[in-house]
Symmetry: C2
DNA sequence: TCGATAGTTCAAGTTTTTCGAACTATTGAA
DNA sequence: TTCAATAGTTCGAAAAACTTGAACTATCGA
């Protein structure tokens, strides 16, 4: 198994981050990670019926864009948002995205 | 020539908008439109050496994601950001993106 | 009506995304 | 220590999306 590649904070690219967030599956993963701070892949995609190879692709893309940090722990691969680094490089971006994504699920607090 | 399709404000999808913004060419177009309020395609891609068919593809994608509004005026196709609608649907998103994009060009106000 | 400019359409080549099948890694029991 | 089960990974091929050149349409001014 190849080691995970995480781009250093200073090398995060805005367009890569936006691209990574610009997919409904990945957006749902990011929302799940935002709710829980740390999750194994299987839990982060909970409810999404997707082949494991496709899930893997999405996690890799998120990781290589610098959106998530990944580490191994036993049988699990644990993921978390790189919140601090994202906030430092792109102030307000993640907040705006998550707010809009949550709003889309829970329209206008009825 | 087919009529332009603009999704209504209420149907803008967060992931489509993020996807549209997640490309360096399109991000530059959006920055140019942000500086100038209205621009023909040719001016909005000023400086980017791209085939016209590729430019066309990017403008269409931005339009169909709801990021820009397009109208015809003489020989020109005039584009503008759908700022108000984007701000209403996704508060703070465009500002955060544009701020980060400008920051990337003019790093940390040296 | 012609030429020039601005953008559009189409088709083909390249790149990404998706997904099934087979694989590796770790854990908990027997 | 071996086995079965769980969690992800890798590979290869099919489907979708991006890029581009070439040929096209639309508008304007001479």
């Amino acid at each position: 198994m190849r080691p995970f590649h995480h781009p250093p904070a200073g090398e995060l690219k805005l367009e890569s981050v936006l691209y990574a967030l610009g997919d409904s599956t990945r957006l749902k993963i990011v929302q799940a990670l935002n709710r829980s701070s740390e999750l194994p892949c299987s839990a982060a995609v909970c409810g999404l019926e997707l082949p494991k190879s496709t899930q893997h692709h999405h996690f890799r893309l998120l990781r290589e864009a610098g959106v998530i940090f990944t580490r191994k722990s036993g049988v699990y691969i644990i993921n978390r948002l790189r919140r601090d680094e994202l906030d430092a490089q792109f102030p307000g971006l993640l907040d705006a995205v998550l707010a809009a994504a949550n709003e889309a699920e829970q329209p206008t607090q009825a």
